[in-house]
Symmetry: C2
Subunit: 324 residues, 2 copies
């Protein structure tokens, strides 16, 4: 697809969208999507050009039965050439499973909100930082090649605590990088970020983290998800998490929008002439299948209603109806 306008000088040529719908998305829904559908989802996402997929989380099945089949999904994902399959792990035990299953990457969440960290894990952010240090040591001693990425959650604010100090986010990023984490990302877990906040926080953290800070995880809870992505992109960030159909909302705010939707994010980049390798019509077709599997759930995203603009349609496609 060629952009309507050439990308301005200074824009990156490529950006990466990591699909987290199978983890962040599905964990937010009460229902359990059958493994068979998840396997079809992973295959179709791969066929649509997705090369980074978070397939699940190594947490006790009694806590998140929706993700109980993570090991099976990971085993399948590893059969797809060039696919970087990641899993979320909350602790050393989960990290050991991720390394045993040879996940390419494990995502370790660390909440910058003291209140959120205590409520979720009954640990302070510094306790979680100490766990991360132990996980890094376990990885070193095991000789595992699983990449360790720390996601700083509630980095832009917290529903329990309210404001989260940027200086605290910076302190925690420094701590986990000192502990040996390979990568770090900033996550707007509850949809409190705005584009100015995004630019000021990345401006604060990037000089310390450099290219080890390489992921923006934004929710569209209040409609600013893609504006926040654009703001981060302007700061040089080129890897973003997204969920197909924008699932991943907060279970306590039924119907509230979730993660930025994969298909809308892929369209943003395609329109700007930034290559992601994703086939948008194929993503929209997969969205329809996922919507049928999740019948009754509130889905999100916008592009699916109107379709691609005429300027981005693959050759031979019939454009949408005229608004003239």
């Amino acid at each position: 697809m060629s952009p309507s306008y050439p990308a301005p000088a200074g824009w990156p040529a490529h950006a990466t969208i990591r699909e987290v719908g199978l983890r962040d998305g599905l964990q937010s829904l009460a229902r359990v999507l059958p493994t068979e559908h998840k396997l079809q989802w992973i295959q179709a996402a791969y066929d649509a050009g997705q090369r980074e997929i978070e397939v699940g989380s190594f947490v006790p099945a009694r806590l998140l039965p929706q993700l109980a089949d993570t090991a099976e999904l990971l085993a399948f994902a590893k059969t797809l050439p060039g696919l970087v399959a990641s899993v979320l792990v909350p602790n050393l035990k989960g990290a050991q499973r991720a390394m045993e299953c040879e996940a390419e990457l494990m995502l370790l969440p660390l909440s910058a909100s003291h209140a959120h960290s205590l409520a979720n894990l009954r640990k302070t952010p510094d306790d979680v930082g100490a766990d991360i240090a132990r996980i890094v040591q376990a990885r070193e001693s095991s000789g595992s090649r699983t990449v360790i990425e720390v996601g700083i959650s509630t980095a832009f604010g917290c529903t329990l605590q309210g404001r989260v100090e940027p200086a605290e986010v910076l302190r925690l990023v420094r701590a986990v990088l000192d502990a040996g984490a390979d990568r770090v990302g900033l996550a707007d877990t509850v949809g409190y970020a705005d584009p100015a906040m995004v630019q000021s926080l990345f401006a604060l953290v990037l000089p310390v983290a450099g290219d080890k800070l390489n992921c923006g995880h934004f929710h569209d809870t209040r409609g600013l998800g893609l504006a926040n992505v654009f703001a981060a992109l302007q700061m040089g960030v080129t890897r973003f998490d997204a969920c197909l159909a924008g699932i991943g909302g907060c279970p306590h705010a039924p119907g509230a929008s979730g993660n930025v939707s994969t298909e809308d994010l892929a369209y943003l980049f395609a329109s700007m002439g930034i290559a992601t390798g994703q086939d948008i019509p194929a993503l929209l077709a997969l969205r329809e299948r996922v919507a049928s599997w999740l019948d009754g759930e509130t889905l999100h995203g916008t592009l699916w209603r109107a379709g691609l603009p005429r300027t981005l349609l693959p050759a031979g496609t019939v454009p949408e109806a005229s608004c003239a």
Copy 2:
């Protein structure tokens, strides 16, 4: 409301949201909203701090029966102190009515897409430019003080024609300013713009139009509405059109998102510490009333589901449920 973070140096202190739901929004719906409800909408929008409202359009009632009561709405709007009431006018006849009714501002659309202009008005863009020149002359000879703003529609692309050349947009802006238009705005009528496009087109036109270019009109058809607003804001644009509940979609793409939603846009600015004078809880309350009046229509916008973040809640408000 105080922002979570102070607005970075260089951000404007104030921005203006012009409510166009009563015109761009309602004209896209088949139903006719009773005048009584429109009057309540205008009063409540005014009470919520809105000071620029496009109340309707002076077009033949047989073409847009939804807007047949524009003169009555305008007369009421003029009784509200400090409210700038605008109307859209498609031709000299409509302009004469707007001046007779002493509208503070009349919006004249000029489509930069040749195909769109012919399909909508059976006139070329240059023919429309000549009409605008005649309207300016009529305003001068009548001594009317109605401000003339030209909205360059399909400035970022067209569902019929596809790409619209930036050079053509620049040529038309120059022509209408030479003809004596007081102001000009750029409109993404069909939702083809992306943030890079927005910045490159405003960068092209601003040196020619200066502060006479003072409105961005964005649709959220494909999810990029607020990202486009942010991109324009970075170019120094501080006046934006919006529709409460994001109505204003294309009648040929049922359910497709419409204009950027007023409440989400007001939240974007409030979170960034940019004053708009709008009371967001009051806007959300009005949205509920409008939703009941428009029962059965597809509405849009995102903030209404989750509510304001704890960091922006008025003192004494109970925050939303926790996502922890």
